[in-house]
């Protein structure tokens, strides 16, 4: 097996008296989609923030490519090849697709001794990169505000890949999207995987996760409730685990009892 691109070992994170994460281990390998599932408040976002350098863990270790590491800042993490596609997407709606694509990393060219923003290169490259990933733009100069939710998500992912991300962290990328839009994003996740990128995919939606996922980790109240290979678990089992299987079974029993009582 490959060494994980990034690995958390027995990580804990506390916010005052709140135990946000306790003893959680998690990793992702090249060319793998590892889904992180869990209820609201389970600690998914906290785990992601530890992985992206926003929070430093109170206990446990972080390894990048097998070596012990500390993330000093989100920028530092990005430089190590771990890119988080934020839920707010880090896009500026009034600016063009190309200008957003290169935001903060504008390509320069030298004309008459002046270092200029190479607009033509930016337009060409943004258009090309997006179309390579199956997103046909009408015009790289159209404002991002005119794109659909799915297209925006794809733009943010394509941008991370273009700038050399080895690990992609996607926090609920499909949750706000319609069926068609979500499938466009899922397709892009599969493509990223094919390029050897390790994808960490956070989702509420087991259907979306099961389609693209290779491994599944369940978080419950800040603790890991197990990691499963795809061949070890069926979608229904996963659904049951997710939905708090026992609670649903109990509920079912009660309804049956109630109905019997009526008769």
């Amino acid at each position: 097996m490959d060494t994980p691109l990034v690995e958390l070992k027995s990580v804990s994170k506390y916010f005052g008296s709140v135990i946000a994460l306790k003893d959680v281990s998690f990793d992702v390998r090249p060319g793998e989609v590892h889904c992180l599932l869990g209820d609201n408040g389970a600690g998914k976002s906290t785990l992601i923030k530890v992985l992206s350098g926003v929070h430093s863990p109170d206990e446990g270790e972080i390894l990048v490519g097998g070596a012990h590491t500390r993330f000093n800042s989100p920028k530092d993490t990005l430089d190590k090849g771990i890119a988080t596609v934020y839920q707010d997407l880090a896009l500026v709606p009034l600016m063009s697709v190309a200008r957003n694509f290169f935001l903060g990393r504008e390509p320069l060219k030298k004309t008459w001794g002046l270092r200029q923003f190479d607009v033509d290169y930016a337009n060409r490259t943004a258009y090309q990169q997006l179309s390579d990933m199956g997103i046909q733009l009408r015009n790289p100069e159209q404002p991002v505000g005119t794109l659909s939710g799915g297209e925006r998500q794809c733009l943010a992912i394509a941008r991370a890949i273009h700038f050399g991300a080895k690990v992609l962290i996607l926090d609920e990328p499909t949750s706000a999207l319609g069926v068609h839009q979500a499938s466009v994003v899922l397709k892009l996740i599969v493509q990223s995987k094919a390029r050897g990128i390790g994808v960490i995919f956070i989702s509420h939606n087991v259907h979306h996760a099961y389609v693209v996922g290779d491994r599944f980790t369940l978080l419950k109240r800040g603790r890991s409730a197990g990691t499963y290979q795809k061949n070890e678990i069926s979608r229904d089992q996963l659904l049951n685990l997710m939905a708090g299987g026992k609670e649903l079974v109990d509920l079912e029993q009660e309804i049956i009892k109630l109905n019997n009582g009526k008769r």
Binding site: L89, A90, V92, M95, R99, F117, V119, D120, R138, P143
Partner: protein, 365 residues
């Protein structure tokens, strides 16, 4: 912009639709309307004689110098209300040292630019680090600078004005760069040809183009290049459009904004230098309301009050409209009291038009 991308989903957008997605369109259309209007009502009043044109261009140029810098700051999502009193402040710094202590004029001009840059830096620093709206922070500086200028000037000279600077500035090497005229030879030649009228004493009606007009156009072109063709320009749009997203992508939003506050302050210093060296006097009350006139010109020029969208070229046309209307009202003999009513109304119309254009731009799919 020369990129040709063919895609079956590209609809041939009609020319008008494409133009409507440029921020400066409204101001250009407005300029045409204003010219037609005064062409009809003031056609033979001398507004469009060589002298009249230079007159309104000079008014536009001075405001336009401010507006160009203010446009960039507003695109970055901030306001600078302090530039009005900054003009009075810089003017006094330029005038008093030569008159009172025999400083060379170039030294006092340098001093004015440096002082304004410092105040601009402070404005920016406070806005960026407190997170307070720049509207409030610079409103504070507006009052503080005016008070400081008044207090210090009265303390030193016993008055609130300083005049007689011409005596010191005429021979200074720096004067032609701010108060001189350019293109004197071609203007003289045009006068020979009869294109430019002559005065009663036989001299051409104008002897050259005031250098402030060159500053205005030069600054506008430079700022347009900065916005459209540099990394810094991309940061300006992003800082005003969605500061958080910009920060997440590693854009130095704070540094970008502070730099722009320094630029508006320097524009105020340039305005003051031109004004003081042309008139030979300074007054603590100079520049009153210029901060709002500049905002009006910028907004007429298509820049959004909320930031993230706009242009320096638009601000140039906004300032041109301002100058033409001001001088046009004067030349047609309409009571100049009506000027402010007109400009205020013009701005409201421009804001309505801008929000329409933006809404249109955002649904251009």
């Amino acid at each position: 912009m020369s990129l040709e991308v063919k895609d079956e989903r590209v609809r041939a957008v009609p020319l008008l639709g494409r133009l409507l997605s440029r921020p400066e369109l409204g101001a250009i259309a407005g300029t045409v309307l204003i010219f037609v209007f005064f062409g009809i009502t003031a056609g033979d009043s001398g507004l469009f004689s060589a002298k009249g044109i230079v007159n309104f261009l000079e008014v536009s140029a001075q405001l336009g110098i401010l507006a160009a810098a203010v446009a960039l700051l507003m695109i970055a999502g901030e306001f600078d209300l302090s530039i009005g009193s900054m003009i009075g402040f810089a003017g006094i710094i330029i005038a008093i040292p030569p008159i009172m202590w025999d400083w060379p004029v170039w030294a006092s001009v340098l001093m004015a630019f440096a002082s304004c840059a410092f105040v601009g830096y402070l404005n920016g620093l406070i806005v960026v680090h407190t997170g307070l709206p720049s509207f409030i922070v610079t409103l504070g500086s507006l009052f503080m600078l005016r008070g400081l200028t008044l207090g210090v000037t009265r303390g030193i000279t016993g008055r609130t004005q300083a005049s007689g600077l011409h005596e010191y500035s005429t021979g200074d090497w720096i004067t032609p760069f701010f108060a001189g005229q350019v293109f004197r030879a071609p203007i003289g030649w045009l006068a020979e040809l009869g294109v430019i009228g002559k005065r009663a004493d036989g001299l051409p009606a104008i002897s050259g183009i005031p250098v402030s007009i060159v500053w205005w156009i030069g600054l506008t072109l430079f700022f347009t290049w900065l916005l459209m063709r540099t990394r810094f320009g991309n940061w300006i749009f992003a800082s005003g459009g969605e500061a958080n997203a910009a920060r997440n992508m590693g854009v130095p939003v704070a540094r970008t904004k502070i730099t722009l506050f320094i630029m508006t302050a320097l524009a105020a210093a340039l305005f003051a230098t031109v004004q003081v060296l042309v008139t030979g006097s300074a007054d603590t009350l100079r520049g009153n309301l210029k901060e709002f006139e500049a905002i009006i010109a910028v907004v007429i020029g298509g820049t959004l009050l909320t930031g993230g969208y706009g242009s320096a070229i638009g601000a140039m046309f906004g300032a041109l409209i301002f100058g033409v209307v001001q001088m046009g009202i004067f030349y047609t003999g309409i009571d100049t009291d009506w000027f402010k009513l007109f400009m205020g109304a013009m701005m409201v119309v421009a804001v309505l038009f801008n929000s329409y254009v933006r809404a249109r731009a955002m649904r251009s799919r």
